[in-house]
Structures are given as C-alpha cells and as structure tokens.
C-alpha cells in the first residue's frame, strides 16, 4: 500500500548520505524547481524529490478534490512519503506554500522531522485584522482569472519545443512535459488552497527548529511577513536574502545553497 505513494507522488530518491533531505515544491511548479540546488547536497545527504498529487508527473487519477481543498491534504502527501520510505530525522526544504504544508506535517508528526527550511514562506496571503499578507481577496480572484486565460492558450504556452538549453536539452524538454500535464481545474483549486489559507494560529505549535529564507522584493511573501513568521515561530532563524523575487532557488541557487549549508552546519 505505502509503496503506491512513491509512484503516486513521482518520488525520486538518490544521493550518497544517510540523513534525508526532502524537497517540497510550491504552487505553480514541480520538483524541477530544485534542480540547481540538490547537486550541492547529493554527496552528504539522501535527497528525496516529489510532486504533489495534481502537479508535475504525479498520478492525476489519485487527485481527490475533497482532500486537496485544504493544505492538510497536501501535508498528508508529505507524511505518506515519509511513511513509505520510513524517513526519520528529515530536513524538509519547502518552497512558498509548501512551508505551511511542511509546518502542518511537522506539527502532526514532530518525531519525523529534524529541521524545516522555509523558502519564501507566508502563513497568510490575504490582509486581515490588521495583519498584512500582501493581497486582497480580489487580487486572488484576478490571479485565478489570469490562470484560466492562460489555459485557453495552454497548448501554445506549453508546446514542447527545443529550448535555449543547448548544453542540456533534456532539461527544457522535461520541464515542458511536466508543466504541460498540469490540469487547469486542479491548478485553480491549488491556487485557492494556497492563497486563501491562514495558518497563523498553527505557528506556535511547531516544535521543529526552522530557517526562514526571506527574499528581497518578494511580492508573494513580503519582508514584514518574514518578520511576522520569525516572531511567531518558536526556535526559528530568519535570513534575509539578496535574491529578489519569489524563487531564489532558480534566480540565486548559490546564495540559497550557502544559507542552507550555513544553517545546517550551525544547528546540526
């Protein structure tokens, strides 16, 4: 039974170390987001990559709208994979919304996780009760509309063509394939589960030590959100990055790797 999870979530398990590093992708992408980062950890850790059900090359038949309408359902994916591989002492590296998914997983099964590394996290994207998340409800509606419009042109958006990666042609091809397989209905539900989530009350329950990697000029997770997280997450470390935008693992993989290594070197 548990072995099915490995196929369902397109799990990749490699590396030469024994301590597992589990990399969780965010909304809008899949496990390829980590490809510039994982080589730096392959020699010292066991690397586990996966796609959430409904993303990348996961098994779309396993998508259950009831389960994945909240981040809890996605957290169950992480716990399922940990169970299938019997992972202990896991360093969970989580991008964007996965930070809160990882938080829920670590609250539920604290014994499995040693560290939680959050890249561009936010506990709540919508502004409410004096809290500044960065967005209003209508902005998210606008995002859903933009996404829908782009599914009309899906075929062109994602057409498998030969890309600019002359040295690594397989790279672009793979990515196109996986982006291609994203289902618009699922993507829209993931967007809602992500941007309408509010995990502020869960923060104080996290016992696992955490690292918050805060990007500069990140509209999705602005710096005041990083500060809020740092204040409310017990045993957290906040690192301000030079990288701008929301995907430092793509734009500044070197800086991302260095900060993770420094943190693990200090706390391990």
């Amino acid at each position: 039974m548990v072995q099915q999870f490995l196929v369902r979530n397109n799990v990749k398990d490699f590396g030469n170390g024994s301590q597992p590093m589990l990399f969780a992708h965010g909304f809008g992408c899949d496990q390829h987001m980590w490809r510039f980062v994982t080589p730096a950890f392959e020699d010292d850790y066991r690397i586990i990559l996966f796609d959430y059900v409904g993303s990348g090359k996961s098994d779309y038949a396993s998508y259950n709208p009831e389960r994945y309408q909240s981040l809890q359902g996605y957290a169950q994916d992480i716990l399922d994979i940990c169970e299938a591989l019997d992972l202990q002492n896991v360093i969970l590296v989580a991008h964007s919304v996965s930070s809160m998914i990882g938080l829920l997983a670590a609250i539920e099964k604290p014994s499995r996780f040693s560290h939680l590394i959050m890249v561009g996290p936010s506990p709540c994207y919508i502004n409410k009760d004096g809290y500044i998340g960065g967005f209003e409800h209508k902005d998210i509606e606008g995002l859903l509309e933009t996404m829908e419009k782009n599914y009309i042109g899906w075929a062109n958006f994602l057409a498998p063509q030969i890309m600019g990666n002359a040295d690594r042609p397989e790279l672009g091809q793979e990515l196109t394939d996986s982006f291609c397989s994203t289902d618009p209905v699922i993507a829209s539900q993931f967007a809602k589960a992500t941007f309408f989530s509010d995990n502020r009350e869960d923060l104080s329950k996290l016992k696992t030590p955490s690292l918050i990697l805060q990007c500069a000029e990140d509209i999705i997770a602005p710096s005041q959100v990083g500060d809020y997280l740092h204040q409310n997450l017990p045993n957290s470390t906040l690192k301000q990055m030079k990288a701008t935008g929301h995907c430092p693992q793509l734009s500044e993989p070197g800086e991302t790797i260095q900060l993770i290594q420094d943190y693990l070197g200090v706390t391990a």
Binding site: N64, I140, T146, G164, G245
Partner: protein, 403 residues
C-alpha cells in the same frame, strides 16, 4: 530609420535584465501605458503589471523563462499610468545580450479577444460544472448503493451481536453480583470465627472479583447509556478526576503538570472517568515515590474519515498527550494494552482502565494510542474532535445499541 520603425511598431516592446530592471522599451508600449518611454527605463518590469499578474509572473512565468528561456501567447494584464487594466498577449525570449541575460518581450493589447475569451471561459465553466456534478452524482449514487447494502448487512450483524452482548453482560454483572455479595458477607463472617490463612486468601480473591464485576458494570454502562454531549471544560474535569483520585490514593503521590487543555463537545461524565483512569494508572504504575505526569494539549486538524477510503473531511481535534515516568511497558504490546482485562503487569489493577478509556474515546469518535519505554515512561495519546455534530454519533449509536 530602423530605430523609428521599432519605436512605432504596432506592438509594445520591452526588454529587462534578470533582476527585472527595464533596459529598453519602444514608444508604442509607452503610449499603451500612457507613460513617457524614457521614464520607463530603469524601473522594474513588475511595476507595469496588475497585482494578480505579478503573482502569476512569480509563480509561473518567471520560473518558466528561467529554465525554458521562452514563452508564447501568455495572457497578462498591464496597468496604465491612469489605472486602466489592459489585457495583453505576451511573447518572451530570454537570451544573452552584451554579456548579460535579458528577456525580450512583445505585447499586443487584446481587449476584443478578452471579451471572446471571457465568454469561452464562462461557457467552459458551466460545462465543467455540469459535467462534474453529473459525474459526481453518478459516482455518489453507485457508492451509496454499494454502501447501503453493506451498511444493512453490518447493521443486522451489529444489532444481533449487541443483543447477545447485552444479555451476556447483564448476566455477568447482575447475576454475579448477588452471589458475590453473599460470598463476601459470609467470608467476612467466617473470618471473625476462624483465623486460617486460607480465609485471608479467600477474602482477597472475592474482593478482586468484586472489582472485576464493578469494572464490567462501568463498561456495560458506557455501552448502554446514550451519550450526553455538551460543552466540557477539560481543565475542570481534570480537577474533578484528581479529587476523585485523592479519595483513593494519597494526594502527594501525583505530581501533575499540564497545558491549558481547552474545552470540547463531549460527555462530561465519560471524559472525567477517562481522565480519572489515566491518572489512576499513572499512580498505580509509578516507579518511585511519586508519579510525575505531564498532559500536553494541541489543537490540530485531522481527517474525520478513518474507515472509508478516499473520503476527506478535515475537522478540528484536540490531541491530549498524557505522559508519566512510571514503569512503562514494552511497545510490542501497544495494540493489546487496550483489550478488556489485559494486564501487562502483575499486581495492581484489573486491566480495565485503558479498555474503558478506549470505549470512551470511541463514544466520542476519537482515537487512543499508547506508547511506552519499559522502565522509563508511558504516553497515552488521545485525539478528540472539538465538535460531535460532524460525526453523527448521536443519531447513529443509540439506535444501533438499543435495537
């Protein structure tokens, strides 16, 4: 000449560095946005977008460009200087230019295409909804039919088993009680007359039997009584359980530390009985002078469906972890520890307390688990739902139990 053509081209052009800084634009784009093109240079490309488009760029477009280097026919919305939303189509190519990576983009404003697409999207949504409702309905119907048959079978089985069980437990509790009372009475009387050590043993065995029967009665009570759900303050009932406990043990035997446990919907008498037994076990199976007990409470969400596969309903649960520093137990037995009259240790107790706790958590649609380290500690973890309504136990159980 070329520069002029480029400036007046019937599409907006912009190029920017990887950090988003705009490095070249044409006049057409300036006039679309109603900003002087010189003023655009040096700004961040994101400043031209509406907020939803910014999110889309960060989560989809920029990662795509970073790895795939190009994107075609992307629908975005630009924001003009006077606040107008401009639907555009974008083609983009990331490339090296004068030793730096730039992304070169053209925009075409597509207000008419947008109207057309809006209608398409609306039509598709209607179709999708109808389809999904229809598919769901067919699937639900099939599942319902299958489950109804299964349920009918199970109800029949449960109700006949329940009847037997009820008769059996009545026999055990009521019919044993009277002869037992007499045995105890005459044993006591005989003890006054003779000092034989055998009498001592007889009296002790009879007392043990009485404890078993009393325990069974409690168990039967939990089976038969309808659950009375109300808002229960767990902190208050722990205090009640402690005062009950101090009637039977010295107060100093228990050293309790606990979180604020909170309150939930439940049967107050049952929950108090459960906490009483948990603390009573900790005292009975203490290692040293005192039982040091810690109760931790966490509020979390759990899937309320545990038997039916593929169903999800995340509900709020309180997780209570009761940890003591007593004699512990071998975790190999953690699934047997809740069985009725199962004793892992000789001596104290009838092997009843945890069976009752399991019964009570079951009555609350909760879960109970045990973990232990021999000679070190025992942890009993209990998940109880905050609200009972989602589980429908009120309606289902009494009918099943009293056929």
């Amino acid at each position: 000449m070329i520069a002029q053509l480029f400036d007046k081209a019937p599409c907006g052009y912009i190029s920017f560095y990887d950090d988003g800084t705009i490095f070249e634009v044409n006049e057409t784009l300036g006039s679309i946005l109603r900003i002087d093109k010189q003023a655009l240079k040096g700004k961040n490309v994101e400043s031209l977008f509406t907020l939803p488009t910014k999110i889309f760029c960060q989560t989809h477009l920029f990662p795509l460009l970073k790895i795939q280097s190009h994107a075609e026919e992307i629908f975005l919305t630009l924001l003009s200087s006077d606040g107008e939303y401009l639907p555009v189509l974008l083609n983009a190519q990331r490339m090296e230019w004068e030793k730096r990576m730039i992304t070169s983009c053209v925009f075409i404003v597509v207000p008419n295409r947008k109207k057309f697409e809006d209608e398409l999207v609306a039509a598709r949504k209607t179709a999708e909804n109808a389809l999904s409702q229809n598919t769901d309905l067919v699937a639900v119907k099939a599942a319902l039919q299958k489950h109804t048959k299964k349920l009918e079978q199970q109800m029949r089985l449960v109700s006949s088993q329940n009847q037997e069980l009820q008769q059996f437990s009545h026999v055990v509790t009521h019919n044993l009680k009277e002869p037992l009372r007499k045995i105890l009475f005459y044993t006591e009387k005989l003890q006054g007359e003779t000092q034989l050590p055998t009498m001592e043993k007889l009296a002790r065995s009879a007392q043990q039997m009485k404890a078993v029967v009393t325990g069974l009665q409690q168990y039967v009570w939990l089976n038969e009584k309808a659950n009375q759900y109300q808002q229960v303050n767990l902190d208050a009932i722990v205090q009640n359980a402690i005062s009950q406990l101090t009637k039977e043990h010295d107060a100093h035997l228990l050293n309790l530390q606990m979180d604020v446990l909170g309150s939930l919907e439940g049967d107050e008498d049952q929950l108090e009985l459960m906490l009483y037994h948990l603390l009573d076990n900790a005292v009975k199976f203490r290692k040293g002078e005192k039982a040091n007990v810690i109760i931790k409470s966490t509020l979390l969400k759990q899937n309320a469906f545990r038997q039916v596969a593929g169903k999800y309903d995340y509900q709020s649960f309180i997780k209570l972890e009761v940890t003591d520093d007593g004699i512990g137990f071998d975790p190999e037995y953690k699934n047997h520890i809740f069985e009725l009259f199962r004793k892992l240790h000789s001596g104290e107790g009838q092997g009843l307390g945890l069976a009752l706790c399991k019964k009570i958590t079951g009555n609350h649609a909760g879960i109970i688990e045990a973990d232990g380290k021999p000679g070190i500690s025992t942890t009993i973890t209990i998940w109880l739902p905050l609200q009972q309504a989602a589980f429908g136990l009120q309606e289902a159980l009494p009918g099943m139990l009293n056929p």
